[in-house]
Amino acid sequence: MQRDKFFKEVENVTHPNEKLVKTHCSYCGMQCGMNLRVNTKTNKIIGVEPRYDWPVTVGKMCPKGVTAYQQTNHDDRILKPLIRDDASLKGTKEGFREASWDEAYDLIVNKFQELQNNYGKDSLSVYSGVSMTNEKCYLTGKFARVGLQTRYIDYNGRFCMASAAGGFMRSFGVDRGSTLPWTDLHETDCLFIAGSNTAECHPTSMFRVWAVQERGGYLIVADPRETPIARRADVHLDLRPGTDLALANGILNQLIQNGYADEEFVNKHTNGFEETKELVKLFTPEYTSELTGVAPEKIIRAAEIYGKAPNAIVMFARGIEQQVKGVDNVSGYTNMALVTGKIGRPKAGVATFTGQGNGQGGREHGQKADALPGYRKIANPEHVKEVAKVWGIEPEEMPEAGVSAYEMFGLMEQKTIRGLYLLCSNPAVSAPNLNYVREQMKNLDFMVCADFYLSESAEFADVILPTTTWAEDEGTVTNLEGRCIKINKAQEPLGESKPDWQIQIELCERLGRGKYFSHLKSASDVGEEFRLASKGGNADYYGITWDKIEKQDGVFWPCKDENDKGTPHMFLDKKFYHPDGKAKICALPYRPPAEEPSEKFPLRLTTGRVVYHYLSGNQTRRIQFLKDMCPEAYVEVHPETAQKYNISHEEKVRLFTLRGEAIYKVKITEAIRKDTVFVPYHFGHDQSINLLTIAALDPMSRMPEFKACAAQIEKLELKKVQ
């Protein structure tokens, strides 16, 4: 058990007629430890108690975590399957009637078979998510490829972690979100954090971040907004949205010019240095400043601090990743660590703040359009053979790679995809260019949505299947460190809800594919098969048993066998995962955002989160405390910009882009650039900022550019407001 200076021996409070169930939060990649309070008479979850003995978060929780338990017995839970017979009501909450599981399954099987008979196997698609266990994520891949036999499966990580994954694969040859455990963070000497609103999106990292400064270490933050973490930074690089690569190149150039490159490390353990050195020469502080809007002296100072720091960690998040060059941004910032050799040892390295609870594990095990369990690739015949053997199919039966999440909507428009099985995701809020996306969902021949609440996306479904919340099932997730941990069951499923894995197995049995699924009777059975399927892959979980997780407070992958304790620190032997064992320093020419401001659209629109809500808000908008704290979307505007438009605090304005428009209340703050406006993306229907965002995709990760597009504000006439 790793116990650092924050760890304190504390006994938990247990009230009469209550028991505590150890588990983790349902929300973000921090996966904070928590105890759920369960009434032993009603066997229902009634509250939360801190889990002081969890080494990563030592009892700490954000407001979402504290109130997460309120999801399970919430009045909005869907308790029975729902069927809507009148397709004209799609896109609304209306017209659903309760049905038995048998009726719902029969209808789905009939419709799926009819579509596949008429239009081929690939007329069906699966759109999944990673706010669920490894077991569910793994089985969903198999469900699509073996159960439904379609090539079209992808997942919401495409809007979340895909760029980090692409960047790490290119730089290191392996995609583990953090090269070190979080318990290293407070012991480093410099944190360089780009595009992460850490205090709001991963709040329980903050006590470690502040501890760096308390020790006399440095905090550098790159963000267009003065977020709560940027407010206290030693250097705040207040860049224009969408210009990260220029900043990364500019800092790298300073590091090299001022002698901070570690030549021995570079020569022995990396490729690509000379070429990169030449390319970044262009990025002088002045030129970088021109592109990014950051003052030259800040760029110089940031590079000096990072260069001098004995140990430093480069961290980033969606701010740099949700761009049309997200993968380049990731490799660009990762270059800093590779050139200076600040990686492959404790207290130094690179990490991304994983967004979703299982954003790491969920992307490794075969929900991605082109991937198979263990981070294998469909394009690799050997990989296909290995997985086909575990699944009991012939390699030839393995469907080809599909397309990315957003591109599936394009195939829906073309009628290549006619049926959709949606689970664990809410693309009617989270996808970019929503007017288009919602139209395609409406035009589907048949849509199934598995969820525990009636989300905005469920409003487009013909059948809704009630699933369990995280606390009504068990399994593993992989947190943002790459540590595989255990989610425990605290309560029996409410109403007739079922865990996703059970629903998928029962559907496959009815589709005549039972022989591949019927041996799986429990989450643990699925887990055992999943370990086997990952064996030998880059993300090898074979040695991770539920027992070992319990004993070791989680197990870091790769973990190849029973005796392997796992890998908290990556690359300690300076061996990277490319065939020659070297990491790649990448020469990355700068590209501007896909849509630059113009006369008609002079503002830069960027989007993000608030501390009170999680992703599309389908869960958190229903929790009273969180709703009270942040009930609606708003647009953040700098006072000087507001003056130009003659708009005032709390006034409603029309915000619009080439793709869509919405009306928001203005929130005036000096903590944002004058050329930038910000809207949180957690809200549905006409409040969704994604009505306005652009669907320009990164060529490698297929990540849309949520973080930068061109927008305009219009003052509303009094009549329109009323």
Binding site: V10, V13, M206, P639, E670, A671
Partner: protein, 187 residues
């Protein structure tokens, strides 16, 4: 067991209001939160700070109560009004120099932070300090607080809010914003 106290490091606050959410989770709090988090300068920056009951050694709320409804626990925690004694006069809400006591109009009853007395009487940290993600709220022993005092030393010798800034001696110790300015950098 060494006595522990609530210790506030205002500089750390990130405005997440997790302390308020957690307050509702203490068994004795009837799912109502009892403290405050303020935006310090909302149109300018994102600085926030919690305003917690400081559990005064000689509390104005208790002194002003005509019904002696506000008791002081042996740990020093100033408790919420006794339901059977509180007459709903709201003297305490006016007397408290920090505006801590809240008032329930329906029940005609004052309620305030009791420092999660069910937990803290046994040395278990209160809910707010347990969950606080930024270590703005901490539950520390006197020797740990002393170490903090040595670490953060301002020129004027004042490291915690103490007289003359506060109305009197408090059980909760407060570390002022800006205190990090005194930190010596590593390099």
């Amino acid at each position: 067991m060494e006595k522990k106290r609530l210790y506030l490091e205002l500089e750390n606050c990130i405005g997440c209001r997790s302390c308020l959410a957690a307050c509702t989770q203490c068994g004795g709090h009837e799912e109502r939160n009892r403290n405050y988090v303020y935006d310090v300068n909302p149109l300018v920056n994102r600085q926030t700070m919690p305003l917690m009951c400081l559990h005064c050694v000689n509390p104005a709320c208790a002194r002003s109560c005509p019904a002696q409804a506000i008791q002081i626990h042996e740990t020093g925690a100033v408790l919420s009004a006794l339901v059977e004694k509180c007459i709903g006069c709201q003297n305490c809400t006016i007397a408290c120099p920090y505006g801590i006591p809240k008032f329930d109009e329906e029940q005609n009853l004052m309620y305030k932070c009791d420092l999660c007395i069910d937990r803290t009487k046994d040395g278990i940290p209160p809910m707010c300090a347990s969950v606080c993600p930024s270590n703005t709220l901490q539950w520390l022993s006197d020797s740990e607080i002393e170490a903090k005092q040595k670490q953060f030393n301002l020129d004027n010798g004042k490291w915690v809010t103490s007289l003359p800034y506060l109305e009197g001696e408090t059980n909760v110790k407060v570390n002022l914003p800006g205190i990090l300015q005194g930190t010596t950098k590593l390099f």
